[in-house]
């Protein structure tokens, strides 16, 4: 009886922590998918004038705006899990477009051989169980997504 009273809270805390950790991984996957989809959509938007002129693919001039818009839209589907508004997260994201290749990314140090869109964002995610357990109630997930036509 005493052993049960002692171990039961410990088991419940462990179980709650495991569930929160699993939920966090699911949310992280959704946030990463949101960034990937936004980058793909931005790359899929090409500059038709440049294509007619040179026959080569080149990113549209508004590729950054397109990527940010779609990143916010995708995050909005998981708004209840986010620690802040999806629009704010997308607005704060570091989104860069490299219309012509080759290009060098100063943030990541990567070299891009094709027109590329890169999204780097810090997405706050609610972790209430962690907060109840004396951890932070909001956990920040870093996402990085890079897309180019291949």
């Amino acid at each position: 009886m005493v052993l049960t009273l002692v171990l039961a809270p410990l088991l419940l805390i462990t179980l709650a922590g495991a569930l929160q950790l699993g939920a966090l991984r699911v949310v992280a996957a959704r946030v990463r998918a949101a960034a990937d989809l936004a980058a793909l959509v931005a790359v899929n938007d090409q500059d038709d004038v440049e294509l007619a002129r040179s026959g080569t693919l080149r990113l549209s001039a508004d590729a950054v705006e397109v990527a940010r818009e779609y990143f916010a839209r995708e995050l909005g589907l998981s708004s209840t899990l986010l620690g802040s508004a999806a629009d704010e997260v997308a607005a704060a994201a570091d989104i860069a477009a490299y219309p012509a290749a080759p290009a060098h990314d100063a943030r990541t140090g990567a070299r891009y051989d094709r027109p590329t869109v890169r999204i780097a964002a810090r997405v706050p995610v609610k972790t209430p169980v962690f907060g109840a357990l004396a951890f932070r109630p909001v956990t920040t997930i870093d996402v990085l997504s890079v897309s180019s036509p291949r």
Binding site: D36, A39, L40, V43, N44, Q46, L51, A52, R53, S54, G55, T56, L57, A110, Y112, T116, S145, V146, S147, S148, P149, R150
Partner: protein, 309 residues
Amino acid sequence: MKRRAAASVFAVLLLCSSPALAWDPSREDGGDARPEVEREPDPAPFIAPPPGIYYVTDTYVADVVTSTGALTTYSTTTVHESTGSYARVLDTVGTGASSAFDGSAFNGRRTLGDGRSVAGTYYENYVLDAGGFVPVSIVFFQDDAEVARLLSGTPISGVNTPAPSIPATASATPRPFGTTCCATQRPVVPIPSPTLAPIRPRISLVPLGAPLATLEVLRGRAVSLYPRAFVGDREVPVRAWTVIAGDAGEALVTAGSGVVPFRTSWRHLAPPGAAFDVVFRIEVDTPETGHRTVAAAIGVVVRSPALER
């Protein structure tokens, strides 16, 4: 009692029986063979001709020499009828070549303007009598042509002879045309060679866009390709175009007039490092170019947005 009844039934069945008449398809005995029908002798028995001899269905009529402009054609007219004769090929000779049968043909062998014998084929005719195939004659079927030599001095219809130009001299004294010193010489008539201006085919994404040799397109993205043609720096209208080779993608039509583009899209990617080479046949028909066709090719690289890791 039972034995009597059984014997009675058997006797009744035996009396009522009759022979079965059935046809046996596999029966091969000659018991029912029909009597041999007496055949009448063939009034005209077929005699197979020897190898090389065939039955004549087109009969020689005459030698024909026709002239069209500078071209003189030597041919032979025939009539599609059979005289019951046979023939075989003796010799086929080319222009100027001699044959062992020269002089033996009843219609002779003509010569070209330069004295060479015309080309053609010698045939030997046969008739079939009681003794077999008997040769009766040799005929020469001429088949040749020549372009009249322009040194003959005779005017040739269809050829524009430019008037000789008078060279400008310092004294401005007009020279007499056709001096006596050259009257006996045959005038050399320069013939302008029919050189046609080269047509440069081009392909662009817009009607007045830059010509493209390669094109990058996104997978599934609809594009319009405009086959165009240039003579020098000037664009000439395209009468029609046709995709004659390469992967045309998801195009609904692969041919069209010059005013419509080639619309297509590609839903699959080429192998890494490769491209789809699309070849057009562009047809041009203008007074400047005449009716000509040229080929134009464009390499299409299909790409798809992908994630980098």
